[in-house]
Subunit: 352 residues, 2 copies
């Protein structure tokens, strides 16, 4: 699909700084791309923000609704209480084909639940997956240093079929969006041997190693996650969520510890001042969440979840990423892989 | 029990540098403590090492066996193939009350499997647990900066009863060994709300909050693990293993990234040289595994698992830690808590 025919639905009220940064991000995206952005939210608040900019009116459309869901609300209760909240309406618009993909910086739980309610899943897929990029040592010398981890919390537990689906989702994304020819896929596990990790993980291992269209490199232990041996690491939601948050927590701890230790000593303090540029660079790498959106896979329309603290730059990047996903037919490609897998798997089921 | 009546069984052949460091560690421990150490392993190799030192012969005893299990062997197969391997014999000696506790720097899998085969579990306990100390920001201003995480890989999945048992094991250890009066206990989870994390975790939460003898502070998310809000964090083996290894992996990555970034720039290089003392200090904190042993809970005899790369200092510390655990009646105390819990729980089962 050509850019100028692509419409991205944006939850204009989602995120800590909405609608200020969402509107600014939409304006910026439409300046450098012919895509259309459908802003869903409080019309008056959106128009007030729009007045600050010059923009091409044919590329921005507002769909008005007075309600939205905040970060503090229980997602499930809020969706039931506010059937016309911006994120709920946004998922409906996408489901009705008024837009080709969805971007939101609102509550992750609300985005996933609203999508599950209104947008069809890809045929054969039982569970959606939230994917996160995390920084690595780039062992494979890729253009970017990030690997993809999924699921990081759309689910708690998953079946081995879910995990195989996650492998196709992540590999398709790495191939199309990151332009990695034959992306390596690893399974987050407690040990490297095929039999490790209990029934679900050992069954997943046994299936993945037989699949010709997945470049499976085996189990990846927690301490090897940062090496970047695998472009895509698949895991159940509970383990993925804990792994991702531990990475964030330790990275932030290392910075604090550094400052604390160096405060104690004058020589160290001097050294730290000399290093401030390097530390800023490190911080940029670890603040990766600010710069991109996390794809939510499994629905027949692409969803990009931006961080709640997103800047307008992050929203702009999220919109362009969503447009690129539409251009590259990501959901259709995932659908073809999974249909093919389900067909073959039903015929030759793997014994573990 | 008084120190001079305590005998610790040491797997003299376990670890990367055995029997060199195990013998040296045993000699050092008996120099500063009246405990007896029973060295299990190849008599000739042990005697050759012993010749290097002066020691009190009444405190060191050798039990000879020509076989031992290496780190590379499959633990399950090795135990079946070598019924007189040093770790197997060591667990038997402890089970026969020839020693009061066991220390090994050998393969974790072999230690746990040999113990499961030969040493009785505490009444009511279904699963043993491997505990690891990890460094935190020491939010509670404790004397040491470490919190205890368990299980980190003796199991894959656990029931809510197992997790409650783990809470008693960890809290008893923190109270007796770390001298923390009313240790805080947290549950590693995907979110802070009581209903999060699926059935096992929400049931565990519901039970823990009703227990008067556990200072339960609720769920701890991955990014909060390093704050040290909880002295003891409980989790199933798969999630605990992944969390611990991610901590290790990110800490080592941060060091590498630092060096890499700073190599690019002369000013940074200078700064780094000035900071070398501080970085060494940081490294000492993150190399925590060298300095202590990880307790294995659940058996009616205490087991301390030292790191495979242990130095003689680590072995000495492991032996003294094992002796202290015997002195403090750790296993008996855990047994009393669990018996009491099982009794009360059978009467007032918690509905979730």
């Amino acid at each position: 699909m050509k850019d100028k025919n692509i419409a991205i639905v944006l939850d204009a009220m989602g995120g800590d700084n909405a609608p200020h940064v969402t509107v600014e991000g939409a304006v910026e995206a439409t300046r450098i791309s012919p895509i259309k952005v459908i802003l869903v939210g409080d019309e008056k608040a959106i128009e007030k923000e729009l007045k600050k900019y010059t923009y091409n009116a044919s590329q921005l459309e507002i769909v008005n609704t007075p309600h939205h869901i905040t970060m503090e609300e229980n997602p499930k209760e809020a969706i039931e209480k506010k059937p016309d909240a911006s994120i709920v309406l946004a998922t409906k618009l996408v489901a009705e084909e008024q837009g080709n993909a969805l971007v939101s910086a609102g509550s992750t739980g609300a985005v996933i639940l609203a999508a599950a309610k209104n947008i069809n899943r890809i045929l054969g897929v039982h569970k959606s997956a939230l994917a996160a990029s995390y920084p690595t040592h780039n062992f494979q010398k890729r253009q970017d240093i990030f690997s993809l981890l999924l699921d990081v919390g759309a689910n708690i537990h998953n079946s081995h079929h879910d995990l195989v689906h996650f492998a196709y989702m992540g590999a398709t994304y790495a191939r199309e969006i990151k332009k990695i020819e034959n992306p390596t896929v690893g399974l987050l596990n407690i040990g490297s041997e095929p039999y490790k990790g209990g029934k679900t993980l050992s069954q997943t291992y046994a299936i993945l190693k037989t699949l010709p269209d997945i470049n499976f490199i085996g189990n990846v232990e927690g301490d090897k996650l940062m090496l970047g041996l695998a472009d895509v690491v698949i895991t159940e939601g509970l383990t993925g969520n804990i792994a991702l948050k531990v990475i964030e927590g330790v990275a932030s701890s290392a910075q604090k510890l550094l400052k604390q230790a160096f405060r104690e000593n004058f020589l160290w303090k001097m050294g730290l001042m000399m290093l401030s540029g390097g530390i800023r660079k490190l911080k940029n790498i670890t603040d990766y969440q600010e710069y991109g959106g996390a794809p939510i896979f499994g629905f027949n329309k692409m969803i990009i979840k931006c961080h709640g603290r997103s800047t307008s730059l992050a929203i702009k990047n999220g919109l362009l990423l969503a447009a690129k996903s539409v251009q590259d037919d990501i959901t259709e490609q995932i659908s073809r892989y999974i249909t093919n897998y389900e067909y073959n798997h039903a015929v030759h089921d793997v014994e573990v």
